[in-house]
Amino acid sequence: MSGMSRIVKTVTNVAFPIVMIYGLYVIAHGHLTPGGGFQGGAVVASGLAMLLVAYGSVWTMGKIKEKQLSVLESIGAFGFIGLAFLGILMVYLYSGLQGNFFNNFLINQDIFPIFNELGRGFGNINTAGVIPLMNFAVGLKVIAGLFAIVLVMAYATRLKGVKQK
């Protein structure tokens, strides 16, 4: 009843992991290759919307609730703002100087070096300090937000002729 035909479901089963992997790659390599949190999150949310179209909104709403998506989006937003506020705190703790909001406090530490054995910020994923962490936070936020929009709108219009008040 819910969802589309078996052909569409099979093609979705094949294409869904590839779309997920590509979107998560774009998020994780946001500071090295073109893309970032917003773009990769949009790719992942498009894959989830494909799943929603193929399997129907009732099945998808049985798997994941929009309340859980709201929690995920809030986690992403708090991670983003928390990393921005940590720029003030960590610079003060390290050096006693006054840090800024959105200060890149991880950039000269051991785990996020500017120079590595390949050169200056070249190719390695542990460069660029706080930028990949912010990419992950924004990516989580965009995934949850866009999929929550699509899921709620699809689930609200699942019945033909909803009685208008």
Binding site: G30, H31, L32, T33, P34, G35, G36, G37, F38, E66, S70, E73, A77, F80, I81, A84, F101, F102, N104, I107, F112, P113, I114, R120, G121, F122, G123, T127, A128, G129, V130, I131, M134, N135, V138, K141, V142, G145, A148, I149, V152, M153, Y155, A156, T157, V162
Partner: protein
């Protein structure tokens, strides 16, 4: 022609004049111009890898140099999601 259409025609004529003058005042493509030399572009291109360690200059600008802009974008997305969920809350049950 009604009064409303007349106002619309006047408005679009003014917008078209502004667009044409804006297109005529654009920098020549691919030429170096001493008068309006884009210092900020040169600064970001030269110093992005030294200061942030990121190869992707666009992400370095979006998440490091212009973090407040990204914060505003995230706020816009959050507001849109909250609005859609509030709007469709009554229809789901």
């Amino acid at each position: 022609m009604s009064k409303r259409n007349f106002a619309a025609v006047i408005f679009f004529a003014i917008v078209a004049v502004f667009l044409v003058f804006g297109a005529l005042m654009m920098h020549p493509f691919g030429e170096f111009n001493e008068d309006n030399y884009p210092e900020m572009d040169e600064y970001i291109i030269d110093n992005t890898q030294n200061e942030t360690g990121a190869d992707n200059g666009v992400t370095a600008v979006v998440f490091d140099y212009r973090g407040f802009d990204t914060l505003g974008e995230a706020t816009v997305l959050f507001t849109a999601v909250a609005g859609v969920i509030i709007l469709f809350r009554r229809l789901k049950k």
